[in-house]
Structures are given as C-alpha cells and as structure tokens.
C-alpha cells in the first residue's frame, strides 16, 4: 500500500485465473502463470525453429544466437558430466532455456499482466523434483542398487560410516529443496525489492519538499533493474549447472 499507485509490492505475484477449468477435482485453470509459460514455450520453439531453418554452414545472426545457446549448454554439460552426459543435453537445454526465458519475460513490465513464473515455488519445486527424479531413476537403472553407494563416501574408516551415511542422505534430500528455493527466492526477493524501491519514488514525490530526494530511489531502481537482469540470467545458468552436477552422480555413480 506504500507505493504510489496504491499497489502492494507482492501484488505482482497473485495468480489470476483467466479460464477457470477443473480436472479430477483439481483446479487446472488457465492462469497468468500458464499464459506466461505458453508464451515462453512458443517464443523458444519459434525462435529455435526459425533461426535454424537455414542450416547455413556460415551462420546468420539468428542462427549464431541459437548456436551460442547450444554451445553454452553443451559445454556446461560436458564440463560437469563428461561426454556421456550429452544424452541428457535435451533435458538440460530445455530446463536452462525455459527458466532463462521465463526469468527474462518477468523483467518486461506490462502493467497488470507481468508475471514471473519462476517466482512461485510450485513451479521451481516441480522442475527440481523432475531433475532429482531423473537422477534417482537413471541412477538405479544404470547402476542398480550400487547407485546407493553415492551415500557411502570412499576412503573413510568404517567406524565413521554410521555418522557419515546419514549426513550424505540428508545432503542428497536437501538438493531438490535448495535447487528450487534458490531460484524461487532470488526471483521473489529481487522483484519485491524492485517494486519497493520504485514505490519510494511515488511516495517521495507526494511528500512536499521531500520530492527533491525522489531521484535517489529512481537511480537505485535503474541499478536494481540491471542487477535483476543479471540475476535472471545467472539463476538460469546456476539451475543448469546444478542439474548437471546432480546428473553426474547418476551417470558416474559413487564419487
């Protein structure tokens, strides 16, 4: 309520149902979150299909952008998982570019519509559970029960194992939590901070002589916007890197 327009800084995170739907007793409405995901997927698919249509040996500008994305994710996968990890390239690329585009779409201000999908933990937790589910299923498929050796650190005296195995298990369980909380908290906190500082401008302008201070939060908001773009890109990258690090356990088994 503090801001100039009379909006709360967390109003931007409200889910609005555009087309109410219900499936098997669950609320499956088409919301602003769904809309942004549909926009993101269409943007990504459209861009990648259009830009790689020419398949030129000497790439055009558009194709270069696609190739930069490809090589960036491919090198991340190869660095963290190794060449065998390339079978997971489609997964990591999809996650990276989905989060990347959603984060950046949330930075484009459209009054009353702008929504950052990744600022909701339901979305990030679903992505993190997908990753950890694939790690567990692929690990069990590839290594059988030997996959559980990742909980038993090597080169450790046996009497320490009763202490270390629970620690390793807790560490493993905390992965999907930290993966989802990190992305969600960064986007949530960043957007709230942006909104609050922007709100100060209006408040100061309406406070008589204090209006002379209004340019200060304005400058800060500009700087924060740049920082938020950095965070948006960085968090997409971090999500992809951590996915790779976790997949490494599934591919290579015990470390």
């Amino acid at each position: 309520m503090a801001s100039g327009g009379g909006h709360s800084p967390i109003e931007q995170f409200v889910i609005k149902e555009y087309v109410p739907l219900e499936a098997f007793g669950f609320n499956a409405s088409f919301t602003n979150s769904s809309l942004y995901m549909v926009i993101a997927v269409s943007l990504i698919t459209g861009f990648l299909i259009l830009s790689t249509k020419g398949r030129a040996l000497v790439p055009t500008r558009m194709q270069s952008i696609s190739e930069i994305f490809y090589e960036f994710v491919a090198s991340t996968v190869k660095d963290n998982v190794g060449p065998q990890g390339m079978q997971f390239f489609p997964l990591v690329f999809t996650l990276f570019i989905f989060v990347f585009v959603l984060n950046l779409l949330g930075m484009i201000p459209i009054p009353g519509i702008t929504f950052t999908v990744t600022s909701h933990i339901a979305v990030t937790a679903a992505l993190a559970l997908l990753v950890i589910g694939i790690v567990i299923f692929y690990g069990l498929y590839k290594h059988g029960l030997g996959f559980f050796k990742i909980f038993v650190p090597s080169d450790v005296p046996p009497w320490l194992l009763p202490l270390l195995v629970p620690i390793e298990i807790i560490s493993f369980i905390s992965r999907p939590i930290s993966l989802s909380v990190r992305l969600f908290a960064n986007m949530l906190a960043g957007h709230i901070a942006l909104k609050i500082f922007a709100g100060f401008i209006g408040v100061l302008l309406g406070a008589g002589a204090w209006a002379i201070l209004a340019p200060l939060p304005l400058a800060l908001t500009v700087a924060l916007t740049a920082l938020e773009v950095l965070v948006a890109v960085l968090q997409a990258y971090v999500f992809a890197v951590l996915t790779c690090i976790y997949l490494n356990d599934a591919v290579h088994g015990a470390h």
Binding site: E71, D79, E168, I170, S174, H252, G253
Partner: protein, 139 residues
C-alpha cells in the same frame, strides 16, 4: 559446430564418397587449426568460450555466493525436519531433533564445500570426471 552439418549431410546421402572423404579431411584440418589457435590465445579449449577470464570468474563467484547460503539452509531444514518427524512418531522429543539438527548442519556444510569445490575445479580440469573409466560395478 561443423559435426551436425557434416553428419546430417552424410546421412542424407547427398554427398559422393570422395567428396565425403575430402570434407572429413577439411573439417579435421579445421579442427586442428582451431585447437592450435585456441592453444595460442589462452582460451580454454574445453569450453571454447571467448569471454575474458575476469568476467567469467566474477560471475562464478557471485553465483557461488548466492548458492551456498541456500545449500546451508536446505541442509539444516531437511535434517531438522527428519529429526522432528522421528520425534513426532516415537514421542521422543527432542532427542532425535537435536541429533538430526546437528547432522543436518553437517550436511549443509558438506553441500557448501562440495558444490564449491565442484564449481571451482570442474571447468578448469574437465578431464577429471570423464577420464575416470566408467566402471559399472552392477552387483
């Protein structure tokens, strides 16, 4: 970058065998020259990215610091949660909560240290992971 085009063209069968051999020779030659050029200008051949070193490390440091806080908190939360749940089931509050809180803190530290080490050593010596022969001891 050349390999998808090359492979695609070959599978589509639009290239005669001698052209194919010549094309392979040329791409191999190009690969060798690229490797050579990369060796000279000190960019890591593995990542092949041309960014200046400085921005790479600052980005990594920023990402690392943003990461480690959540790693720590997640470890503590999961540990405490497990301990609390065991206490709830067996009515032994707060024995298991205390034990698992400590284990959770240890797991959080482990997360921070491990991810930190991986981020640090990962890209610089990428041979470390892959070079280990994939000993699938399925027993």
């Amino acid at each position: 970058m050349p390999s998808p085009d090359k492979d695609d063209a070959i599978t589509r069968g639009q290239i005669s065998p001698q052209d194919r051999a010549e094309l392979r020779g040329r791409t191999d030659e190009l690969d060798r020259r690229l490797q050579q050029a990369r060796g000279e200008d000190h960019t890591t051949p593995e990542t092949g990215r041309q960014e200046p070193k400085a921005t790479q490390t600052t980005n990594k440091g920023l990402g690392g610091s943003l990461r480690s806080s959540t790693e720590m908190i997640a470890g503590v939360l999961v540990g405490s949660g497990i301990g609390w749940a065991i206490d709830k089931v067996f009515g032994t509050w707060p024995a298991f909560f205390i034990v698992f809180f400590l284990l959770g803190s240890a797991a959080g530290m482990l997360n921070v240290v491990r991810e930190g080490l991986k981020m640090k050593t990962g890209p610089s010596d990428p041979k470390k992971g892959p070079s280990v022969p994939d000993d699938e001891d399925d027993n």
